[in-house]
C-alpha cells in the first residue's frame, strides 16, 4: 500500500508521479543571488526616487528641462502642476491671462475655444468636440529642453479638432465668400469712379504711374506694413466733399412748446441749454448760421458737424422718449436683426467709450452725471458682451418709440432728420434720426492674419483684389459687371483659390500657423482685437 503523501512537503510537478525535487537544483543559489541583486537594484532606484521627490525637488522624475521662459520654476513642480491633476490651465492663468481678460497679450479670446474663460469646459477625453476647451498644456508642451519654443505649433496640434485635411484641397472657403456675406458698410461709395479720379490726377504728374498708386492714395499702410489705417475723411475725402459751399437746407427752428414738431435748435438755443457734450457751441462761429424767422441754414458743414449731430441727438431723444436721453449715443437701431446682438453690443460699447472719452475732462455736474450713467452702462454692457449671443438681452440699448408720438409725428421727425443730414446723405445713411455708424476698420477675416507687406513684393493690389473690376474698367475700358459690384457692400477680397496659387505643399507655407494665431501677441494683435470687439 503506498505511503500517504505529506502535503507540506515540497514536490515538483513535472509529471503525474510527483517525484521529490531537489529545490537547490530547481532554484540554485545563483538564481537566488540574481533575485537578491535585482531586488537591491530596484530598491536603490525606488529609494533614490523618493529621496529625489522629497529632497531634490523631482529633478530625477522631471521629463526634461523646462523652457527658458519657465526655467525659474524648474524645482517648483507645484507652480504648474496640481497633484493628480497635471499641468492645469488654472495654474497657467496664475501668471498668464486671467479669466475674462480681453485685451492682454495672452488672452484666450482670440480662439473661440478659449473665449469663455470657463475652465469647467475643459474636456480631456478622446471624445471631445470642437465646443470643448482644452488645457493649455495640450498644445503648449513643456519639458522639451531649455531652447524649446513651446509657442511654435505644428499643424498636428490643430488637426485633431479642425480636421480640414490639406490647405490646398480641403480648407474651407473664407466665410465672406462661402456665405456671400455683404460688407456691413453703411457708406455709399464707388471704387471705380474714385480711383479713376485719383488715377487721372496722378497721371498728370507721371503718365506711367501704376494704377495701384491710386489705391494707395486712400489705403495708407500701417507702419508695420501688414494692414491699412482706417480711412480718414479729412485726409482722403475732404478735398472734394463738404467744401465751403456745402450747406444744409433751410430747417425749421424747434418750438419748446411743441417738442413733437420737427425742428432744430439754433446755436444760441444750444448755448443756452448747456447740455452734455455741447461745449463746442461756445467756440463755434455764429456767422456760419443764417437764422431767419423761416428757419436756419448752416454753412459750411463739417464732417461730424457738431450742430447737426447735436440736433440729430435731440430729434432722436424726441423720437424715443425722454427716458432715453442717451439714445442718440447709440448706433443701435430698432431694426436690429436677430443674431446680430453681439455685434450690436460691440458697436454700442465702442460708441459709449468714444462719447465718454469726450466728456471726461468736463467739470460741469450735469456732464459728470451723464458720464456716471454712461460708465455704468458701459460696465453692464462689457459684462453682458461675454454672454452667448442667444442670452444677450438687447433691452439695454434698444430704444422704444416714444408712446406719446403718433405714427405720422414719428414719420415727420424721421423725415426731418433726413433733411437735417442732407449734406451727409451723399455717403451716409440716416435711420431713426441717427447716422448709421461706419466701420472704419477694413479687415474682414478676423480669425486669420494677413500681412500685405509680405505679399506686395510679388503681387500688386489689383492682382488679388478683383471683386470690383477696377483694373478692367480703368485700363481696358471694360465696364462689364461694374454696376453690379462697385459698391461699398462688396467684399473686394480674394477667395481662397487666390491664396492657393502660391501656398501649398512644396510651395509657400501652408501650415495653419502661417495665417492663424491662437492667442494675440505683440505683433499680431490687430485682427485678434478686432475679433474680440466684433464678437
Amino acid at each position: 500500500m503506498p505511503k500517504p503523501q505529506d502535503p507540506t512537503r515540497k514536490k515538483g510537478s513535472f509529471g503525474p508521479t510527483r517525484l521529490p525535487v531537489a529545490v537547490d537544483l530547481v532554484f540554485p543559489a545563483g538564481s537566488r543571488r540574481m533575485m537578491i541583486t535585482g531586488g537591491v537594484l530596484a530598491g536603490i532606484v525606488a529609494l533614490f526616487f523618493f529621496i529625489d521627490t522629497i529632497i531634490l525637488s523631482d529633478t530625477f522624475s522631471s521629463p526634461g528641462d523646462l523652457s527658458s521662459n519657465h526655467a525659474n520654476f524648474e524645482t517648483e513642480c507645484s507652480s504648474c502642476h496640481e497633484p493628480w491633476g497635471g499641468a492645469t490651465s488654472q495654474k497657467c492663468a496664475t501668471c498668464h491671462e486671467k479669466t475674462n481678460d480681453r485685451t492682454g497679450v495672452y488672452s484666450y479670446a482670440a480662439h473661440y475655444l478659449y473665449r469663455s474663460g470657463n475652465f469647467g469646459r475643459i474636456q480631456t477625453s478622446a471624445h471631445r468636440t470642437a465646443d470643448d476647451e482644452q488645457e493649455c498644456s495640450t498644445c503648449h508642451q513643456e519639458h522639451q529642453g531649455r531652447d524649446a519654443a513651446m509657442t511654435i505649433m505644428s499643424d498636428q496640434k490643430c488637426t485633431p479638432c479642425h480636421d480640414y485635411g490639406s490647405f490646398e484641397d480641403d480648407h474651407p472657403e473664407f466665410a465672406f465668400a462661402r456665405e456671400a456675406l455683404p460688407d456691413d458698410s453703411t457708406l455709399a461709395f464707388t471704387h471705380v469712379r474714385h480711383t479713376r479720379f485719383v488715377y487721372e490726377r496722378l497721371q498728370k504728374q507721371s503718365p506711367t504711374v501704376y494704377l495701384e498708386k491710386a489705391c494707395l492714395y486712400c489705403h495708407n499702410a500701417e507702419p508695420d506694413g501688414k494692414a491699412f489705417k482706417p480711412l480718414d475723411f479729412e485726409a482722403h475725402c475732404g478735398d472734394c466733399h463738404l467744401t465751403a459751399a456745402t450747406k444744409t437746407p433751410n430747417l425749421a427752428i424747434s418750438d419748446p412748446a411743441d417738442p413733437a414738431a420737427p425742428g432744430v435748435e439754433t446755436l444760441a438755443m444750444i448755448q443756452q441749454r448747456r447740455g452734455p457734450g455741447t461745449l463746442w457751441a461756445f467756440y463755434t462761429n455764429p456767422n456760419e448760421f443764417a437764422v431767419s424767422p423761416r428757419g436756419v441754414v448752416n454753412s459750411p458743414v463739417y464732417h461730424r458737424d457738431p450742430w447737426i449731430m447735436e440736433n440729430l441727438k435731440q430729434l432722436s431723444a424726441t423720437l424715443f422718449g425722454p427716458e432715453t436721453s442717451l439714445a442718440g449715443l447709440f448706433p443701435i437701431r430698432r431694426s436690429e436683426k436677430p443674431g446680430t446682438e453681439q455685434k450690436a453690443y460691440a458697436e454700442a460699447i465702442s460708441a459709449l467709450r468714444e462719447y465718454a472719452a469726450g466728456l471726461r475732462s468736463r467739470p460741469e455736474p450735469e456732464v459728470q452725471r451723464d458720464l456716471a450713467t454712461i460708465d455704468s452702462l458701459l460696465l453692464i454692457a462689457e459684462r453682458r458682451s461675454l454672454m452667448t449671443a442667444e442670452a444677450l438681452p438687447l433691452d439695454l440699448f434698444m430704444t422704444k418709440p416714444n408712446p406719446e408720438l403718433t405714427a405720422s409725428q414719428q414719420q415727420d421727425l424721421e423725415d426731418f432728420a433726413r433733411r437735417l443730414a442732407e449734406p451727409c446723405l451723399l455717403c451716409h445713411q440716416v435711420e431713426g434720426a441717427g447716422i448709421l455708424p461706419v466701420r472704419s476698420v477694413q479687415r474682414t477675416m478676423a480669425r486669420a492674419e494677413f500681412g500685405h507687406r509680405a505679399h506686395v513684393l510679388e503681387r500688386r493690389c489689383l492682382d488679388c483684389h478683383t471683386g470690383i473690376p477696377v483694373r478692367q474698367a480703368l485700363l481696358n475700358g471694360d465696364t462689364t459687371g461694374v454696376k453690379e459690384s462697385d459698391r461699398a457692400s462688396t467684399h473686394n477680397l480674394p477667395r481662397i483659390d487666390n491664396c492657393r496659387e502660391c501656398h501649398g505643399a512644396s510651395r509657400a507655407s501652408d501650415a495653419c500657423a502661417t495665417c492663424h494665431f491662437m492667442h494675440p501677441n505683440k505683433n499680431n494683435r490687430g485682427n485678434l482685437q478686432l475679433a474680440v470687439d466684433r464678437n
Binding site: S31, G43, S61, S62
Partner: protein, 274 residues
C-alpha cells in the same frame, strides 16, 4: 514554389504568427497616428502605446512569478515562455512608439528607455544562446549534466579516481599525479569549447596511450577506468564552460528587469501625480 515551413525556424509558429500580426497592427496604428495626430507620449495615442507596453511588461513579469509557483497549474510553461519572448519584443517596439522613436528627455526617462532596450536586447541575446548552446552540447558530447551539479559530479569522479589510484602501482600513481589529478581538482573553464565542443579531448587522452604499454593487464584495466573518468570530466568541463553563459546571461537580464519594473511603476506614479 514550396510553402515556407515556419516550424523550421520557430518553435511555436502560432505564437510567431500572432506576434507578426500584432507587430503589423502596431506599425499600421503608428502610421495612422502620424497622419492624423502628432506623435507624443502625452497624448492619447502615446498613452495607449505606453499602457499596452506596461501591460505586456506585467505579463512578462508574471512569467517569472509562474516559474516560482510550480505547484499550481497555471497553464503550459511553453505558452508562458512564448508570451515572455514575443511579449517582450513587442514591449520594446511599443516603448519606441511611445517615445515617437525619439531620444527621451529627463534622467528617469533616459533610464527607462535604456533599460527597456537593454532588457529586451539581453532577452533576445538569451534566446539566441538557448538556441545555440544546447545544440552544440548535444552534438559532440556523450554526457549531460546540470550546471549546478557539475562541481559535485567532478568531486565524485575525483574520489572514485583516487580510490582506484590508491591501490595501484607507482607508475599509475605518478601518471595520475602528473597528468590527471590537477584536471580533476575542480571544473575548468576553457573558451576553446565555444569553437570546438570536443575541445581536443582526444589529444588530452593520448598520454594514457603512452603509459598503457608499460603496465600489467590489471593495471591497464585501472588505467582504462581512469581514462574514462578523465574523459567524462573533460566533457563536464565543456558543459561547465558552455552552460556558464546560459546562467550568467540571466545576470544581464533579470536584475535589470527588476529595476525596469520599479521604474515603470514610478513612471506611472509620476505621470498620474504630475
Amino acid at each position: 514554389m514550396s510553402k515556407i515551413d515556419l516550424k523550421q525556424w520557430v518553435q511555436e509558429p502560432v505564437w510567431f504568427t500572432g506576434f507578426a500580426a500584432a507587430l503589423l497592427a502596431c506599425i499600421l496604428g503608428y502610421l495612422v497616428n502620424i497622419l492624423v495626430s502628432e506623435v507624443n507620449p502625452g497624448n492619447w495615442w502615446g498613452m495607449t502605446y505606453g499602457t499596452v507596453a506596461t501591460l505586456l511588461m506585467a505579463g512578462d513579469v508574471l512569467y517569472a512569478a509562474k516559474r516560482r509557483m510550480l505547484r499550481y497549474n497555471l497553464g503550459k510553461s511553453s505558452s508562458w515562455v512564448q508570451f515572455h519572448l514575443y511579449g517582450g519584443a513587442l514591449f520594446a517596439v511599443l516603448v519606441l512608439m511611445h517615445t515617437g522613436f525619439r531620444l527621451p528627455v529627463g534622467a528617469m526617462n533616459w533610464m527607462l528607455w535604456i533599460l527597456s532596450l537593454w532588457v529586451t536586447g539581453s532577452g533576445l541575446f538569451g534566446v539566441m544562446l538557448q538556441r545555440w548552446i544546447p545544440t552544440i552540447l548535444s552534438s559532440g558530447l556523450s554526457v549531460e549534466a546540470l550546471y549546478d551539479r557539475i562541481p559535485d559530479l567532478v568531486a565524485g569522479i575525483r574520489e572514485r579516481a583516487e580510490r582506484i589510484v590508491a591501490g595501484s602501482t607507482e607508475t599509475v600513481r605518478d601518471f595520475y599525479s602528473a597528468t590527471v589529478a590537477g584536471a580533476l581538482s575542480a571544473p575548468q573553464y576553457r573558451a576553446i569549447y565555444f569553437l570546438d565542443v570536443t575541445g581536443g579531448i582526444k589529444e588530452k587522452l593520448k598520454p594514457f596511450e603512452y603509459v598503457r604499454p608499460l603496465l600489467t593487464a590489471e593495471e591497464k584495466d585501472r588505467l582504462s577506468q581512469l581514462e574514462e573518468m578523465f574523459r567524462t570530466k573533460l566533457e563536464l568541463d565543456a558543459h561547465y564552460t558552455l552552460q556558464r553563459p546560459l546562467r550568467w546571461w540571466l545576470y544581464t537580464h533579470v536584475p535589470l528587469s527588476f529595476a525596469l519594473v520599479i521604474l515603470v511603476v514610478l513612471h506611472l506614479y509620476a505621470v498620474l501625480v504630475y
